[in-house]
C-alpha cells in the first residue's frame, strides 16, 4: 500500500477579477519597459516620474468620470466593420473589457440587454 506523495498546497488558480500578469512581481518589474524608470535614478528623473504619475492619475480619473457621466445615457458606439450602434450605457467591468448596455439598436432589431466587447469599439460618444 503506497503512501501518496505529499503536496505543500494546490497550484493557484486564476483570479476571477483580473487577467493577471501582476505588475508587482519581480519579473514584471525587471523586464517590463515602461516610461517609469526605477526609483534609484537621479532627482530630475524623480521629478519626471512625479509629473508623469500626476498626468496618468488625471487622465484615469477623467476617464472614470466619463463612465459615470455616461450611465443611463444614450451612447453611440463606432466599431470595426463600419458598425455604428446606439445603446444605453449601463456599466463597465473592472478591466474595461466589456460594456453592459441596454436597448442596443442593431440592424436586425433591438437587443434589450447586451455586452459590447470593448476591444471591438473604436470610439464612442454621448451628449452630456
Amino acid at each position: 500500500m503506497r503512501t501518496p506523495m505529499s503536496v505543500l498546497r494546490l497550484p493557484r488558480g486564476p483570479d476571477p477579477n483580473s487577467r493577471g500578469f501582476d505588475p508587482d512581481s519581480p519579473r514584471f518589474i525587471a523586464l517590463c519597459s515602461t516610461t517609469i524608470s526605477s526609483s534609484t535614478d537621479t532627482e530630475t528623473d524623480s521629478v519626471q516620474i512625479g509629473e508623469e504619475q500626476c498626468a496618468r492619475s488625471m487622465l484615469r480619473e477623467s476617464f472614470l468620470r466619463t463612465l459615470i457621466a455616461m450611465t443611463n445615457k444614450q451612447v453611440q458606439f463606432y466599431m470595426y466593420e463600419r458598425v455604428k450602434v446606439n445603446a444605453v450605457f449601463v456599466a463597465s467591468d473592472i478591466d474595461v473589457l466589456n460594456f453592459q448596455v441596454s436597448d442596443l439598436q442593431t440592424p436586425i432589431g433591438v437587443q434589450k440587454e447586451a455586452l459590447l466587447r470593448c476591444q471591438d469599439v473604436i470610439l464612442y460618444s454621448f451628449d452630456l
Partner: protein, 323 residues
Amino acid sequence: MAMRQTPLTCSGHTRPVVDLAFSGITPYGYFLISACKDGKPMLRQGDTGDWIGTFLGHKGAVWGATLNKEATKAATAAADFTAKVWDAVSGDEVLTLAHKHIVKSVNFTQDSSCLLTGGNDKTIRIYDINKPEAEPQEITGHTSAIKKALWCNNDTQILSAADDKTVRLWDRTSTAVVKQLSFDMSVSSMEYIPDGEVLVITYGKTIAFYNALSLDLIKTVDAPASIHSASLHPDKDFFVAGGDDFKLYKYDYSTKEELESYKGHFGPVHCVRFSPDGELYASGSEDGTLRLWQTEVGKTYGLWKCVLPEEENCEGRKFEETI
C-alpha cells in the same frame, strides 16, 4: 517505501486543453502556456502550476500556443483565423497576424525574430516579427490541413505534420521539400528535441522516434490505447504519452518497457510535455485541466514535498516504481 504519484491539477480553463508548451529555463524559473478551446490561453509558473495570467483577445478556440526560450514572448494560433504574438511579461497583445483559415500551430525561432505558422489553409508561413507588415514567406505543398510546424536544425529547416498523413522536412531558404515521411494514418502530434536532433511522432497507438535531420526511423513503441501526444525526457531515458484512455504512460526509452501508468484525467489526454529540467511533465486534457506529474515520484520539487516519519532523509533516494 515507494510513494504514489500525486498529480497537481491546474484548473481555470472551461473547455478542453488542446496544446501546451514550456519555455526554457529563465532567471525567474520556467513557464508553461496552455491553449484551450475557450479562447483564453493561460500562462503558468512551470514548476508549481500557479496561474500568472490569461492572454485575452482571441475570438475563437486557441489550437496552438508557444513561448520563446526566455518566456518574454508568447504566440498563439486560433480558430478566429489569426495568430497572435504577446508580451509574456505584461500579457499585452503585440501583434495580430491575419490568416485565411484556422491557424493550428505557432513556433518561434531560437532568437525569437521569426514566427512559423501553419493551419487549415495548408500553407506554412514565416513572419518576421520585427517587420510584421511585410508579406510572410510562404511554403506550400501539403494537401491537407497542417497540424504542426516546427523549426529544426538551427532554424535552417522546418518540420511539418499535416492531415495528408505526411511529415515533411523543408529547407527554409529554398522552401523546397528535403525529405518526406508517409503514414497510413494522420499524425496526431510531433515534438522536436534539438539536443540530439530527435523527432517524436505519434499516430494511432504508436510513438515513433526519428532522427530529425535524416528522418531515419530510430524506434517505435506501441501503447495500449490511441495516443494523442508524447514527450521525450531531456536526458532521453524516459518518454511519456497520453491519449484516448485518459491515462498517462511512462516508458523507458532504451528498453521500450512500460514503467508506469497513471489515471487522473476525466477525458482524453490531448498534449503532454516534459519540463525543460525534466523534473515534471504536464498534460492537457479534454476535461479542461492541466495536470503536473513528477518524473521521480517521492522527490521534493516544486509543490511536492517528501514527508517521512522521524528524521529519515529522503532527498536523492530512488523509490522503486512499480506498475
